[in-house]
């Protein structure tokens, strides 16, 4: 049993801190607070990471990755979250990138990987379809071969930030034979192609994160197919395993909970600070203890992976527990904001009223509800855990 960092790891932590101090500077941090700044800040931030060689911590070095150990990755995540810098946008760096370097051909690697590392392209994910939800394999969007092109018809839904994207990685049906999983292909689609319509979906926080993307006779060159036709399901599944680590969001939850404590010390009711309120205190501690445990659950997974083993059965709870904790912290924050948590800032006036965190708390709470729905709902996660971990 040893969780001490080695000398080399401590030196790495110092390097991370120095980098963050410079890269996540006041200017960028205050720009991030402006409405509508999301994409610009992400791109600027990811390019800073890339110029340090840190855009893709877990990619193999030969493809431009940092080649970090899981421990380095853990160190970076903690330091990053502690200063409030954002995680990278996952679609390029964490999702399609690994699929391309694992299953793509050399031309595809050369064409796409450097642009992903430098945030030159904005990617979106075309998996879910209207009416299909967590039952991915039932997808219906069709790609039919026509000479050197596939012709695509159908629709994708819940496509996060498709309004910013110039590329989509997409699962399409190229065959209706065999099991539903067997006729699926993985293809890259230029979002500027004719025949693509992006329809915004406003979510319950009142914002536009999601979209429906409709394909009508969209022609995609055959060279954009990843790997073999009808093997797309396999590629997508390997991606899911890749995604697993860091999905718990421990580092960010630690920062968010610390912020709630600070806010609770300042928020007063009838002369008593909310951090002295017995029920609120209790709720903070319940979550904190769970989070302390989850941090070690994640470390156990990382330690196992560091030795080249699989992530272990305990990894199945990272998403379930991690999202539960994320939601609970958002709920604390909303409740802490009191009346001001109900206000939609910019709804009818720009004047800041009451807590400056009320509006953020409301949006955070509302969007956090998605955490247990997207990326495999809680219910599906539990079914999978029951089957593959408990053998039921």
């Amino acid at each position: 049993m040893d969780i001490n960092f080695s000398e080399a790891e401590l030196a790495f932590r110092d390097e991370v801190r120095a980098f963050l101090k410079d890269a996540w500077n006041e200017e960028l941090a205050s720009q991030a607070k402006q409405p509508g700044s999301y994409k610009d800040v992400q791109v600027a931030w990811e390019r800073k990471l890339n110029s340090k060689g840190w855009a893709a911590p877990l990619w193999p070095v030969e493809h431009g990755g940092a080649g970090w150990t899981p421990t380095q990755s853990y160190i970076f995540e903690n330091e990053r979250a502690a200063v409030g810098a954002p995680d990278v946008s996952p679609f390029g760096l964490k999702m399609v990138g690994p699929v391309i370097y694992s299953f793509g051909n050399d031309a595809q690697k050369e064409r796409f990987l450097p642009r992903i590392l430098n945030a030159d392209d904005w990617w979106c994910q075309g998996y879910s379809e209207p009416g299909a939800g967590s039952d991915l394999a039932s997808l219906k969007t069709k790609a039919e071969r026509d000479g050197d092109h596939y012709v695509i018809n159908g629709a994708k839904i819940w496509t996060t930030l498709a309004q910013h994207a110039n590329w989509m990685f997409c699962l399409v049906r190229t065959s209706s034979e065999g099991k539903p999983q067997q006729g699926i292909s993985f293809i890259l689609i230029d979002m500027t192609s004719p025949g693509i319509t992006v329809r915004p979906i406003v979510t319950i926080d009142g914002e536009h994160h999601l979209n429906e993307v409709i394909f009508e006779e969209v022609r995609v060159p055959v060279e954009n197919l990843i790997g073999e036709e009808n093997k797309g399901w396999t590629y997508a599944k390997s991606l899911l395993a890749h995604e697993r680590t860091a999905i718990a969001g421990v580092a960010d939850s630690k920062r968010n909970l610390a912020e709630v404590k600070k806010l609770a010390a300042a928020e007063v009711n009838g002369g008593r600070a909310m951090i002295e309120d017995p029920i609120f205190r209790q709720r903070i501690c319940d979550i904190e203890i769970d989070l302390m445990a989850l941090e070690f659950t994640e470390l156990r997974v990382l330690a196992s992976m560091s030795k080249g083993n699989g992530p272990g059965v305990e990894s199945s709870l990272l998403k379930l527990k991690g999202t539960e904790i994320q939601q609970s912290i958002q709920e604390l924050k909303l409740d802490l904001a009191g009346y001001f948590g109900t206000v939609v800032q910019d709804g009818a006036s720009n004047e800041q009223v009451g807590h400056d965190f009320g509006d953020v708390a409301r949006r955070g709470f509302m969007m956090s509800r998605a955490a247990t729905i997207y990326g495999g709902s809680d219910e599906v996660q539990k079914n999978i855990t029951a089957k593959f971990v408990l053998g039921l």
Partner: protein, 378 residues
């Protein structure tokens, strides 16, 4: 012992239900709240014609003479329709305080105008620092001849944008959290020295922050009666909002159940999954238990139980409201999956209204502590 509505109450309930069904579907409601005023004048006049605006007022004031049960009947149905018209703010809060204040010709005339729909009111009780404490009042009232001048700030005042008159709590004497020295004052909505900042809330209501600088005001109660009147108003409003919340919970549970019966995944209706079935049994039970505690609070008021007993029941009601709202609202979104996250569906709108009701007059945690202090002391 019986929990039935009287014939008159049932007719009232049915009339609200009919209005919601015929004229206030989700689409119509969204048009109403998109108005600059946040509600429809036309609907308001209809409410007046149907007599709804007269419900809580005594018969000798031209009212219906209704009690907690009548209000409950109306509010439950309004909840199901997410009715945005300011019934609670103008009739129950403003009208309720007027009715509780000292009789005068002016007061009676104002009540008559509330009843006929020609006048709208608002009540300003919260302040930027007050959180949920009614006694936390910094807004100051200074005597000037036989009138007063108010200076201070009031937060998120419901219906202040459309109101003609506003009742304001202000401090005549004492320190910030003193229970004594708080009185209620009537001001004109267009009085000199009063400035408003309008804001939207997540449940599509229009509220306003008020800044008062030497605003001329008229006292409607004695200097030490203000807090008790506000507490009385809170008690009535909690019961009314709880009835609205019950309507919403029933609606959310029904919508979710229907969705699970029809929505197919992996080839079968998701309502056939046992884990989801058990969770829907839990939300069903939560709504029934909430209905029971609401009935308990209403009965304790209607049957003139001791003030302590009523306060305990009302604190328990609001405490349970907080838990049930989060539970039922959370499950409604979760079981609707991705669809539950969209603003196109009505689910999110109901959920936001529930959260807003949870915060109104103190959230579940706040009232659970009031409950503990009241019930463990006795």
């Amino acid at each position: 012992m019986n929990f039935d509505f009287s014939e008159e109450q049932q007719m009232l309930k049915d009339s609200v239900a009919r209005f919601v069904q015929d004229e206030y579907d989700f689409e119509a409601r969204n048009k109403v709240v998109a108005n600059e005023a946040g509600f429809s004048d036309e609907n308001w006049q209809k409410f007046a014609e149907l007599g709804w605006l007269s419900i809580p007022f005594a018969e000798d004031l031209g009212g219906f003479g209704g009690g907690a049960t009548d209000t409950m009947a109306v509010m439950e149905e309004m909840g199901k329709g997410l009715v945005a018209e300011p019934f609670a703010a103008s009739v129950l809060m403003f009208g309720g305080l007027l009715q509780a204040s000292a009789q005068s010709e002016e007061r009676d005339a104002l009540i008559a105008a509330v009843i006929d729909g020609s006048l709208q009111g608002a009540v300003a009780y919260a302040e930027p620092q007050s959180r949920y404490e009614l006694k936390d009042v910094k807004c100051a009232a200074k005597v000037e001849g036989d009138t007063y001048r108010l200076s201070g700030e009031k937060s998120l005042v419901l219906n202040a944008v459309s109101a003609n008159k506003i009742i304001v709590s202000a401090r005549v004497s004492g320190d910030q959290n003193d229970e004594q020295g708080i009185a209620l004052f009537l001001i004109d909505a267009d009085a000199e020295g009063l400035s408003k900042t309008a804001l939207r809330t997540m449940d599509a209501q229009l509220v306003a922050n008020l800044k008062l600088e030497n605003v001329p005001a008229q006292a409607i109660c004695g200097a030490d009666e203000g807090l008790a009147m506000l507490q009385q108003m809170r008690q009535q409003l909690i019961v009314a909002l709880a009835a609205e919340a019950l309507g919403i919970m029933e609606k959310l549970n029904a919508t979710t159940l229907e969705y699970c019966k029809t929505r197919k995944q992996f080839g079968v209706a998701i309502g056939s999954f046992q884990a989801l079935q058990h969770r829907m049994v839990d939300t069903f039970m939560a709504a029934e238990q909430f209905k029971s505690i609401l009935y308990r609070a209403v009965c304790s008021i209607e049957q003139n139980e001791s003030a302590d007993s009523i306060e305990i029941n009302v604190a328990a009601l609001k405490a349970m409201l907080g838990k049930a709202a989060k539970h039922i609202g959370g499950e409604a979104v979760q079981l609707h999956g991705g669809m539950g996250m969209t603003d196109e569906l009505d689910v999110g709108h109901y959920v936001r209204r529930l959260l807003s009701i949870n915060a109104a007059f103190g959230d579940g945690d706040y009232h659970q502590q009031r409950f503990a202090n009241l019930s463990l002391a006795s």
